[in-house]
């Protein structure tokens, strides 16, 4: 069952035959004794294990992403460049390390390497860094000591040093090296990995893993003894946009979805809202299909796609069939899908004219958290009347819910506060929340009602006077 895996770890070529489901975290710490990468939670919720994962782009450069090594099976790093904190170390401290030191960004030190990896990833991918976006890049890292103040100061310091760098010519990577943000070997990293032969597709196994960001939380131990097909980076295709639709390959990551220009212009503002999806390293790995088949009642992408009226394409070998999104879920964690079928793509139809989406998510902590309740409203209007509305809600039933009655009720109505209030009364009849760690059922019902108000206030500020909402 072992697999042959070839990749670059820092500046070294690694060529191992190993259980493909072992996590990169365990490989680094256990096999390589590279202990700068820490295990803090083993569920992608602390970021102490953050490493960089560099993939060769068609253009021949390397695209680096920060990822949680605790959720990253080693099979997924074939042909890639894995960078741990040890791979950033030079004789002298680099600029980020030095700033963390001088600005009080490190106290106990346990979370520190993870923060430094996330910051490094930010500077690799952003030649024009800002404090706000730099903070956003640290949304997957938890520090229990500093209150983040010293870390923000460190970030600010690196940004200002970067902005005043003497050499502003040459490739971005060469400038990062010259500014002591990366060690010199990064200049040749793409040459390292381009020598690794392309991975030959292996025979499909009964268990599929895409991003693995939830499976490796729940089942990392069982996966070590399961025959697995890793489908994330195999047959990697891009999002296709036509005049009438977007076709998202199932293994599109949330990050790829967020950063797609066409999606952004069709659904303005969604990218910002989706900063509440997991964290940067999670979004870098989590896939659209994974979020859908996971069938969690509070799955964020499922919630949005349901409102958008997306179509699911299921594939089994060469046979394919399609399904409207809301027909996919059968019950709690169960799907109208054969185990052999995978979600090959998700199709989002483009509507002409006045079509708008509002997405709302509230959790115990706003970032790096799972929703208590989420909801999306996709609404098409003509003048002040609703042509069609699709309202979804998560966390208020056993599956990601399409609120069919409420949606139907809204169709054709003139937008007003009273219509909104009537819709809310209908919403209450369609849901069945339960009390759990994310809130009481009373809270979840109230919260969903509030989020429906939020949709309307946000989408139609001129038609819904705030006085009539309160």
């Amino acid at each position: 069952m072992d697999a042959h895996i070839t990749f670059y770890l820092n500046s070294d070529l690694i060529d191992v035959t190993i259980n493909p489901s072992i996590t990169v975290l365990d490989f680094l710490r256990g096999e390589k004794h590279l202990t700068g990468t820490k295990e803090g939670c083993r569920e992608g919720d602390c970021g102490a294990c953050t490493v960089l994962l560099g993939s060769l782009t068609p253009a021949g450069s390397i695209n680096y992403k920060s990822v949680n090594s605790c959720l990253l099976p080693i099979a997924e790093v074939y042909g890639k460049h894995v960078v741990s904190i040890e791979g950033l170390n030079d004789r002298e401290l680099n600029l980020i390390q030095h700033s963390m030191l001088t600005e009080g960004g490190t106290q106990c030190g346990f979370c520190t390497p993870g923060f430094i990896m996330s910051m490094t990833n930010y500077f690799i991918n952003n030649p024009e860094p800002t404090l706000e976006k730099g903070i956003a890049a640290l949304d997957g890292n938890i520090c229990r000591c500093t209150g983040y103040a010293g870390i923000k100061r460190a970030l600010e310091n690196v940004i200002s040093r970067w902005n005043s760098r003497p050499i502003k010519t040459g490739s971005h990577v060469s400038q990062l090296i010259a500014s002591r943000l990366l060690p010199g070997y990064f200049a040749h990293a793409e040459q390292f990995i381009s020598t690794i032969p392309t991975l030959q597709p292996s025979a499909p196994a009964p268990r599929f893993i895409a991003g693995g960001t939830d499976l490796f939380v729940q089942q990392w131990e069982a996966l070590l003894t399961t025959d697995v097909s890793f489908i994330n980076h195999q047959n990697k295709e891009s999002i296709r946009e036509t005049d009438i639709e977007f076709i998202l390959p199932g293994n599109t990551t949330v990050e790829e979805f967020i950063s797609h220009p066409g999606i952004n212009s069709y659904l303005p503002g969604l990218a910002d809202q989706l900063q509440l999806f997991g964290s940067t390293p999670i979004r870098n790995r989590a896939t659209i299909a994974g979020n859908i088949v996971n069938a969690s009642p509070i799955a964020d992408m499922a919630n949005i796609l349901m409102a958008l009226g997306a179509t699911i394409e299921l594939q089994n070998g060469t046979s394919r069939r399609t399904l409207p999104f809301e027909k996919l879920y059968a019950g709690y964690k169960s799907l109208h899908k054969d185990p052999e079928e995978i979600i090959s793509s998700v199709i989002i139809a483009k509507h002409q004219g006045n079509a708008r989406l509002s997405y709302e998510k509230i959790s115990r902590r706003m970032h790096l958290d799972i929703a208590s309740v989420n909801s999306s409203l996709f609404i098409r209007t003509e003048g002040n009347s609703i042509v069609s509305a699709r309202l979804s809600a998560g966390g208020v039933g056993p599956i990601p819910m399409f609120l069919e009655k409420t949606s139907e009720f809204l169709n054709g109505k003139e937008i007003s506060a009273s219509v909104m209030h009537s819709a809310i009364e209908l919403v209450k009849t369609e849901i069945a929340p339960i009390t759990d760690a994310r809130g009481s059922k009373e809270y979840k019902q109230l919260l969903l009602c509030q989020l429906v108000k939020a949709h309307f206030i946000k989408l139609f500020p001129e038609l819904i006077p705030v006085e009539e909402v309160v």
């Binding site: 803090g40 106290q107 509230i362 208590s372 760690a437």
Partner: protein
């Protein structure tokens, strides 16, 4: 000055327990625990686990070679449950296997037969049923009964504060290695090496000198590794002792969260009486502490609640009662503030309610009643070197508090759904272990013949920068460069009988001990230098930056020459010194005395924004004026204030410890238990230290810093309530944490 360990931290080269390269043959341990909150342990079946691949052995209580008892204050806690289980998570067996994964797999195969008994989870219910850890404690000052008759208004109420998971990033861990002659060496992530040594010796049936405990650093402690690191070290020790092989025990996160205790939840009643002008005359409180299933440090924590029950205020008549209630939850334990925050939370709630009744601004009541120099606390101590009022007034002025209030009122008048709130939180926290005998420390300094220095103390480095401070003290005293000094691991063979690094006292006690040791060495070096330079007045010799001066005169004698000269002159280059905090005492019978060397005070102003539509909030800023004495290291102290503040805000806002009806923790992972992330922390934190406030009771005039700023978080709680009250009339129950759920339910639930 940079944190001592920081260079290694930023390179990922700092070694934590799980990073130690395990010796060949190391066994990995996995703890099997009770899934029932209360019951009779009828039988443990380990046969299937023993047959599991890679398993070496499965230990139960009958394998304990010494006493199966780890209670440190009260002997009421078994290492491995023998006949009864008292909480979900109580260790029952220890699986030892050749790998972590094999230990984990085998642990699932250990079977337990437990006959359930009726559990208790609520502290008031425990109190009614007489389930107490120890007899109740009462502090009194003056006569509340007659004072209430003098009051214009009397308010009574209830306040609830929740538990708090420590969430140190490094989970509980230990590596035990058998040593020669049947001894054990333990590398432990503990704040209390001596507790680990003593309890392990007790468990194994060894004298303490056969157990050596070594601690390099902790990946966070916050009190959670003061008493509760011991069990894991003792279990690893037992495993190593029985198998004669090294044993590593690292709790996985979820187990750590389920098994270990947390900050104590408190349910409290208060009664406060004031004059119409806002003067507080009398205050009564009853604190029901939810201690969990065994004493742990609860008695001392309970006592500190009483010490701080009046927070920063002078109240002439006080009667405070506290009861430690025994329930079937994991034993709750020390957490930054050690019961103090829970006490302060209640008086601040009382002031809030009184202000509403009097139609006054709470800030004016706070201000009017602030403790000043010469006031008496309910425990008899008199304030001295006391700058609380100065910090309060300075904060209000410097951070334009009145203008901010006005600005916020204007904002709230024009904003329907989004409201802002502001609140002030003064703090006053006593510094010393309230268990007086713990206020001692020793230090050992060696100067090697090449001029390099090794310093050992009882202090544990856990990110608070104590090693840096100790190094600063030694460098300052001896006159050598910082980079000559290595602060060594904390090791029970080098420094014995260590008090825990706790109570914010690490730098004070160990800084003083190191100071004394360094002074002794410096005295000797003065003599050597005087002899070498032919100077008769040896006290005129000084060393600055390794340059030897005779009076004002710079000499040619180098540091290295001086050290070599001392060595060849047969002058000892080692020094051991001891420090005990002077002039502290406390009579447990009368509850009066001078328990604290001094107090730390300060004032914070929190400003928040609440989205009343969605029931969410952001902390816009917290601006602080804080008394740190003469800081031993301003960067470290600033970081301590900022970090403690964020932790206090977490306790008051998003961090909610929830047990279900069976007593099982349901917030047992980082996905359900939410500590502040970079967005939940205040967007802006300003920390200003009061100037010219040297502390005569601290090393080099410094003050302790670790715990007090946590309590500024209580101000953020009130800022949120203040913003909410701009949306809906303030009749809010005082329940923390003020989660998003509570905000929305308070604002919109019609019930």
């Amino acid at each position: 000055m940079k944190g001592y360990d920081s260079i290694q931290h930023v390179r990922g080269e700092s070694v934590f327990i799980d990073d130690i390269k395990a010796p060949q043959g190391t066994l990995h341990a996995y703890v099997v625990y009770s899934k029932i909150a209360h019951g009779v342990l009828e039988r443990i079946d380990t046969s299937e686990a023993l047959a599991s691949p890679g398993v070496h052995s499965v230990l139960t209580s009958s394998d304990v070679t010494g006493e199966n008892q780890i209670g440190s204050v009260i002997a009421d806690e078994e290492l491995l449950a023998a006949h009864h289980v008292h909480f979900i998570g109580q260790p029952v067996a220890l699986v030892l296997a050749d790998s972590k994964i094999n230990a984990l797999r085998a642990a699932k195969k250990v079977r337990m037969d437990i006959t359930p008994l009726q559990p208790i989870f609520d502290p008031r219910e425990a109190y009614e049923k007489g389930s107490l850890i120890m007899p109740e404690k009462i502090f009194t000052l003056g006569d509340t009964e007659s004072a209430f008759k003098e009051c214009d208004i009397i308010i009574e109420g209830k306040a609830e504060s929740g538990g708090q998971e420590h969430l140190y990033l490094e989970t509980q861990s230990a590596l035990a290695i058998p040593s020669e002659g049947n001894g054990i060496k333990i590398f432990s992530s503990t704040q209390s090496p001596t507790a680990v040594q003593k309890i392990t010796a007790r468990v194994l049936g060894l004298p303490m000198n056969m157990v050596e405990v070594d601690v390099t650093r902790l990946g966070g402690g916050f009190g959670g590794k003061e008493d509760q690191a011991t069990a894991w070290a003792a279990l690893a020790g037992l495993g190593a002792f029985v198998t004669k092989r090294p044993v590593k025990l690292v709790l996985p996160r979820q187990e750590d969260m389920r098994i270990t205790g947390k900050r104590h939840p408190y349910s409290s009643d208060y009664k406060i009486g004031l004059k119409k002008d806002g003067t507080i005359l009398a205050y009564e409180a009853v604190f029901y502490q939810n201690a969990g299933a065994s004493a742990d440090l609860s008695p001392a924590i309970l006592e500190r609640t009483l010490f701080h029950c009046t927070n920063s205020y002078y109240i002439p008549h006080v009667k405070a009662k506290a009861v430690s209630c025994k329930t079937n939850l994991p034993p709750n334990t020390a957490f930054r503030g050690f019961g103090g925050p829970q006490g302060m939370f209640v008086i601040e709630a009382a002031i809030r309610k009184a202000a509403k009744k009097l139609n006054m601004d709470p800030v004016d009541i706070q201000h009017k009643n602030l403790l000043v120099e010469g006031n008496e606390f309910p425990y008899g101590q008199i304030t001295e070197y006391f700058y609380l009022k100065r910090s309060f007034e300075h904060a209000l002025e410097k951070f334009s508090f009145r203008e901010s209030q006005k600005r916020i009122a204007e904002f709230n008048a024009s904003s329907k759904l989004v409201k802002k709130g502001i609140a002030v939180m003064p703090i006053c926290f006593g510094i010393s272990f309230t268990t007086t005998f713990l206020n001692q420390a020793s230090a050992l300094i060696h100067i090697y013949t090449d001029g390099s220095i090794s310093v050992s103390t009882a202090a544990i480095e856990m990110g608070q920068g104590v090693n840096s401070k100790v190094r600063n003290v030694v460098a300052h005293t001896i006159g050598c460069n910082h980079n000559r000094i290595k602060v060594d691991t904390t090791n029970t063979s080098r420094v014995a009988n260590t008090s825990p690094t706790a109570a914010s006292k690490g730098a004070d006690l160990n800084g003083f001990a190191a100071l004394h040791a360094a002074e002794a060495l410096f005295d000797r070096l003065q003599k050597v230098a005087a002899a070498e330079l032919g100077v008769t007045e040896e006290k005129s010799i000084s060393i600055k930056n390794e340059i030897v001066y005779s009076g004002e005169q710079q000499t040619q004698l180098t540091w290295e020459q001086l050290i070599w000269k001392a060595y060849t002159s047969r002058v000892s280059l080692s020094s051991q010194a001891y420090h005990a905090t002077p002039d502290i005492h406390f009579n447990k019978e009368t509850s009066k005395g001078r328990p604290f060397a001094y107090h730390v005070t300060g004032t914070a102003i929190s400003e928040v924004t609440v989205d009343c539509l969605r029931g969410i909030y952001e902390v816009d800023s917290v601006k602080i004026v804080h008394d740190i004495g003469k800081s031993l290291d301003p960067m470290i102290d600033r970081g301590q204030v900022e970090g403690a503040l964020a932790q206090g805000i977490g306790w008051m806002t998003s961090e909610e410890v929830i047990y279900n009806q069976e007593g099982r923790l349901i917030t047992d992972a980082l996905s359900t238990y939410k500590v502040p992330d970079i967005y939940a922390a205040p967007k802006e934190i300003i920390v200003e230290f009061l100037e010219d406030v040297p502390n005569p009771y601290g090393p080099l005039k410094a003050k302790a810093v670790g715990e007090p700023p946590l309590m500024y978080g209580i101000g953020t709680f009130h800022a949120i309530l203040n913003a909410m009250s701009a949306y809906k009339d303030d009749d809010f129950e005082i329940v923390s944490p003020i989660t998003h759920e509570r905000v929305l339910m308070y604002l919109h639930d019609s019930k």
